[in-house]
């Protein structure tokens, strides 16, 4: 876990935007080997998109070979509704940069078969080679995407009923009329996020400080779904000072010192090179996930022994040997016959 603390929301957003740009650049995406970016909506990421757009307009980054997947979308409001996440993404990001429309993916909340839409979405992520970097924000209750408290940490893309609190909170965008607020949404699951090769979360503001504390200082808990990030190999949380209000002084100082020391050593807290460049050319990308062939694990190709619930991305399994099964034999066979 990397925790980056910045003075204010603007510098936190700028840090993430610059980080994403550096990641895309070192990834060196091509048409065949695009950078796959997971994207959130909401008020916290607006600043990040702003910087990304500025840097694009300054000619410092191209999104030509970037594929995007969004976290969530309401069900049952028109795609062009001013509060739809399609509109949000278009307004804040897509319309300003050169990301190709066919490379963008947002869940369709008006799909005739919502469950099929979710299955298809997961398949599309796999077909794109998995998500290289999932950017996210959280709610004051620690939810990531629409995975509100109590969501399964093994959840995948699915239909989700919104909590009453969320509906009330959202009503400010719908003429303060609760009847107009969508009650359901499509969202990626916690597991979908955790399967990304890297997860970057922005948390700003005092009202989210308790959530930050619950997610990084306490145990993994489905009531604070972001806490599942502790199981991810490469998470990064970028916060402003206000968001650290509930943290222990020790925690804050610890993470600040880590950052300071690594900077003094002349490097940022970078990822292993394999994660940075992604799995290089995959020749045959399969659209539909095939039945996994159960293979006997060997030392050369180990299989995870942890439950899938805690599974880290496949490329990142620790290499560890499997204790061979005991083969009963007779003591006599071990003694050379006279």
């Amino acid at each position: 876990m990397r925790l980056i603390i910045r003075e204010d929301p603007t510098s936190a957003s700028t840090y993430i935007a610059n980080y994403i740009i550096d990641r895309i650049k070192s990834f060196n995406p091509t048409n065949k080997h695009p950078f796959v970016l997971g994207l959130p909506t909401g008020s916290s990421p607006v600043g990040i998109y702003k910087v990304l757009v500025e840097r694009y307009k300054a000619g410092e980054i191209s999104f030509e070979n970037v594929v995007t997947f969004n976290m969530d979308e309401y069900i049952g409001i028109p795609r062009e509704h001013p509060e739809s996440y399609h509109t949000f993404m278009y307004k804040h990001f897509f319309s300003h940069v050169n990301v190709h429309p066919s490379n963008t993916h947002i869940l369709n909340g008006n799909a005739p078969n919502l469950e099929a839409e979710c299955v298809q979405y997961e398949a599309a992520i796999k077909a794109a080679g998995g998500i290289d970097l999932f950017l996210g924000g959280i709610g004051p209750d620690g939810h990531i995407a629409f995975n509100e408290p109590g969501s399964s940490l093994a959840s995948r893309t699915r239909v989700k009923t919104l909590a009453y609190d969320t509906i009330i909170a959202n009503s400010r965008f719908f003429d303060n009329d609760i009847s107009k607020v969508p009650k359901m949404a499509l969202t990626v699951g916690v597991q979908t996020v955790l399967e990304a090769r890297e997860v970057v979360i922005i948390i700003t503001g005092a009202h989210k400080s308790l959530a930050l504390k619950k997610c990084i200082e306490e145990g993994v808990n489905h009531m604070w779904t972001l806490s599942s990030l502790q199981l991810h190999p490469h998470p990064m949380i970028v916060v402003d000072e206000d968001a650290t209000l509930e943290l222990q002084v020790k925690t804050v100082k610890y993470f600040k010192s880590i950052e300071a020391v690594s900077a003094s050593q002349g490097f940022e807290q970078i990822l292993p090179s394999k994660v940075r460049t992604g799995p290089r050319p995959i020749d045959n990308r399969i659209m539909i996930p095939t039945e996994e062939v159960k293979k006997q694990p060997t030392i050369q190709s180990p299989q995870p022994v942890t439950s899938t619930l805690l599974a880290a991305p496949a490329t990142e399994y620790p290499v560890r040997s499997i204790t061979p099964d005991l083969i009963p034999d007779r003591m006599g066979s071990r003694i050379a016959a006279y």
Binding site: K57, S95, H96, P101
Partner: protein, 437 residues
């Protein structure tokens, strides 16, 4: 070499890094236009549905995009007077087409060709050419007529301005006199012989004095045909003007000019902007050439009713021609003297229209009033469009509006004066003028 035949293929152009006029504000937002439909593209829908990407992206470096300018009172331009029917009427249409192509380069993408008071024959000959001309939706046609504006001849002879007094008449028989004067086929909707579609009347707007016999009672017949009735060239009292507004009048032609001035005990036509009788306030035209009106009068009118404020040129056919004496009324031998921006009737000091372009009026208004650029541009885009019931089609940058645009460069001079310059003009989604070319 560009082909004269338009390609069937649709070209989508995206303008970026620009400030676009939306409502009362200049908003930093991209704008997509299509040369295929000639409209502003619902870009978000195109992005997600058809995965459309623009064929060209134009970086405007922070310049302003305004809807194309609309002039609702233009008497002629580039030496051509709409009211003068040539001896060979067949040349009228040909010259008009040329004028439209020149006019569009001044940023005026649509306008009401205005006929000053004439005799019956002139209306019958000229009006068939002056009806709405945008059906073909061709950028190469240049500026588009939204229909004719008939200023007269039902005017008060004491407020004739430079209109020849001998042709001014009353409408004793009400609307049938108007029908007779302008021609029934010009004032009524007609049936398209080919498509059987109902075409709007060729006349879009009629200026008449409400106190002239038969006019106030004819207003409802005028407006029921989709024609705007405007009060003008009038001695009307406040009460008469109010009655005309109550009958359906929605416009005042060149406010303050050719009408009784505001008197504190008889506010006259200007009084209807006071909202005293809880009638809707009409739109009103203002000539901001610095000659017709004192800058303060313009500002007072603007502050009285900003949403009704429309800048018009009332320009004569002498726009763009060198100073000198030009023929005006061939019957009476009257001539016009053009001295710089001023235009007078020879031998008098009567103002005879103006010879100013619409963007110059906008610049004058900006500096007279100190208003914002968006307020000044509104007065030549969305406000005239609303007056003509064309909201969302003309004078608008909303999705699905006609893609008539001007690209404007803003300059602030050393003395603090602001000026807007037309850099490019786009008509129906295609570029028709570029200052740099």
């Amino acid at each position: 070499m560009p082909s004269a035949v338009p390609t069937a293929r649709e070209t989508i152009t995206k303008f970026t890094n620009c400030r676009i006029l939306k409502g009362d504000e200049l908003v930093e937002q991209d704008l997509w236009v299509s040369s295929g439909t000639g409209k502003i593209v619902r870009n978000q829908e195109a992005f997600y549905s058809s995965h459309a990407v623009p064929d060209h992206t134009i970086n405007l470096d922070g310049r302003i995009i305004s809807p194309g300018l609309i002039d609702v009172q233009l008497n002629g331009a580039f030496g051509f007077n709409f009211s003068t029917v040539p001896e060979d009427p067949s040349t009228y249409g040909k010259v008009l087409r040329q004028v439209n192509k020149s006019l569009v380069q001044t940023g005026v993408t649509s306008y009401l060709p205005t006929l000053t008071s004439s005799n019956k024959e002139a209306y019958h000959q000229a009006l068939p050419f002056l009806g709405p001309s945008g059906q073909r939706r061709l950028a190469s046609d240049g500026a588009e007529s939204l229909g004719a504006h008939c200023e007269g001849p039902f005017l008060n002879p004491t407020k004739n301005g430079i209109h020849p007094r001998e042709v001014l008449v009353a409408a004793e028989n009400g609307f049938s006199d108007l029908e007779d004067m302008y021609g029934s086929e010009n004032i009524n909707p007609t049936l398209d012989p080919i498509s059987n579609a109902i075409l709007p009347p060729r006349i879009r707007k009629i200026t008449a004095a409400p106190e002239i016999a038969g006019i106030t009672s004819a207003i409802s017949d005028i407006t029921s045909r989709g024609i705007v009735y405007a009060i003008g060239h009038t001695e009307a009292t406040y009460e008469e003007a109010s009655a005309a507004i109550a009958a359906g009048g929605t416009m005042i032609t060149h406010l303050f000019n050719a009408m009784a001035p505001l008197h504190h005990r008889n506010p006259g036509v200007f009084g209807v902007l006071g909202l005293a009788k809880s009638l809707p306030r009409p739109y009103f035209g203002i000539i901001a050439d610095g000659i017709h009106l004192h800058p303060t009068s313009i500002k007072i009118a603007f502050n009285a009713h900003p949403d009704g404020f429309i800048l018009v040129t009332d320009a004569m056919h002498l726009v763009g021609l060198p100073d000198g004496v030009y023929s005006w009324n061939e019957n009476s031998g009257e001539r016009l003297v053009k001295t710089g921006p001023s235009l007078t009737l020879e031998g008098t000091d009567k103002i005879a229209g103006s010879s100013i372009t619409l963007i110059e009026c906008v610049n004058n208004f900006l500096n007279f009033s100190g208003c914002t650029i968006s307020q000044a541009l509104k007065a030549v885009t969305s406000t005239p469009s609303a007056m003509l019931h064309l909201q969302g089609v003309k004078g608008s940058l909303e999705s699905d509006a006609d893609a008539d645009l001007v690209i404007i460069d803003e300059e602030v001079h050393e003395n603090g004066a602001r000026s807007l310059t037309i850099d490019q003009v786009w008509k129906f989604g295609s570029k028709v003028f570029d200052r740099d070319e």
